[in-house]
Symmetry: C2
Subunit: 339 residues, 2 copies
Amino acid sequence: MPQIDPIAIRQGDRLALSRALTMIENNAPESRALQSALFPFTGHAHLIGVTGAPGAGKSTLVNQLAMGLRQGKEGQPAPKVAIIAVDPTSPFTGGALLGDRIRMGGLAGDKGIFIRSMASRGVLGGLASHTAAFVTILDSAGFDLIIIETIGAGQAEVGIASLAHTVVVVEAPGMGDDIQAIKAGILEIADIIVVNKADRLGAENTIRALRVMLEMAQGKSGAFDIKGKHGLDALLPTIKEKQKPQPGWIPPIHTTIATEGQGIAPLIEDILRHGEHLAHTGEWQQKEAARLRRDIQALIRNTLLDQWWQKQDENQFEEILADVLQRKYSPLEAVERLL
Amino acid sequence: MPQIDPIAIRQGDRLALSRALTMIENNAPESRALQSALFPFTGHAHLIGVTGAPGAGKSTLVNQLAMGLRQGKEGQPAPKVAIIAVDPTSPFTGGALLGDRIRMGGLAGDKGIFIRSMASRGVLGGLASHTAAFVTILDSAGFDLIIIETIGAGQAEVGIASLAHTVVVVEAPGMGDDIQAIKAGILEIADIIVVNKADRLGAENTIRALRVMLEMAQGKSGAFDIKGKHGLDALLPTIKEKQKPQPGWIPPIHTTIATEGQGIAPLIEDILRHGEHLAHTGEWQQKEAARLRRDIQALIRNTLLDQWWQKQDENQFEEILADVLQRKYSPLEAVERLL
């Protein structure tokens, strides 16, 4: 694979960008040097994790967010927006491409938006490190906002979203019991909660359930805020009354109908407000430190294993495996022999 | 934590079993010796992975399977059945307990069935190794069939299911686009496919979609079989015609209505038939080898990292992290310094 000029990346050259991300996906050794060259120019982007159960309408919402964020604030230059769609179960790069094509609707031709799906099957354990590397490249290329979209239904995927500065958890009415379990798991990491498809039957029940789970997850009662213009506010007067000014961030609950663009503007406002809150309280730096710590630890784990395999006698490993298969000793004892 | 007598486990003492599994969940060092002591008595159980998208009705289906498998074959002793429910997103042990309580309906009081939910948040990377350890314990305790139920919506979770001898992928009609992507990812590992909730609107579409995806995933056309008594057979004459005898296993598509117990008996028949197929072709041994290989590799990875951390100077790590935060050098360069 030919070298990629870091300067082309920093200038936002889209072909160079695409090639750099492919290099990372392929675990090309050259990508390491590129990342190191670009790393000093990172730390600017606001990372927004968007996660939620399958069927909640995440992709549509993310498209709407990207278009909305791209508008920027009056009198300021339009921010550049990147989307990384982490699809852990797509087996085909074709699937990823299809996803991109579907997304193109409102976003096609806008040079200030960059979309990349990560077809990630077969890179067990590599999802998180690839996402981190993607962020490095896109951040250094001057993207102001990077949306990381993951299916919030697996431990690894929830973990990736939780690395963002701002985590948006998307729900939708009318999902089953399994979904409840997922909700409970990801609500803990939510900075903002969205009930999408808010015109659907059961939206009120979803909000009620979210309220209870959020109270459990946050370990405090009444510590949230509900926003939306879909007739749902009126249903929840007791919650609104309970609101008290608190020092920390209170995860607001938004209602949206992403397919119609409803509820997007106030959601964007809160996403940006959360970014300002983090910067103001010093939590931005803390999150940054936690993210880099995890990046480094993941790199250490992979490097240690690589180094060990390189030194390992493959025949010895196979002999020991054969012994374990015959129940001569256990896997734990096998590892003691190998290390 | 007090020692657990391996003999009590082998005799199927339920209290000893529960405590052994808790020990594993807590990463108690004593659990290692226990696993090694019990490992020689494993290799007997038929491991059945049941995975599928949230909302497909997996838990109900698994309960029905357990009850049905427990009946056994005429003139033979009733087999013992264990269920390991891996719920990667449940944050509360309470959630796991709730799950167990819900399950109890038809299974309560049957000494030949053992159910355990694995509340697994916070054990990033430990899911697979804990599942493997659970299997060792339950296998040595004489359970003939061990059902491993996972949400098929994350890489780690799909990976766990794929370690079973027989992988059952559960779908349900009427799910969204995200689900399609998940389907594609897990169909590749399916030995048996179940369309549950087969009385729901859209069941025919689901089967049609499965047919296409299965053809892609299996890389061969017409290489499957559709079973069920819900009026769907008639819809798919062309598929039935395409069936040809093939040397390998042809993943059958079953239709079930788990809540009513419909379609369970033929599904169980195929699960057992698949076990016999594996034994007959030698694939059982191959799968066993692959599973133990992965167990050993996971143990090596964890042990290497533990060993490294023990030798590591924590202050040095924090200093290097601070340098990275200030963009003095990249995470990759940090790892080079640390190792």
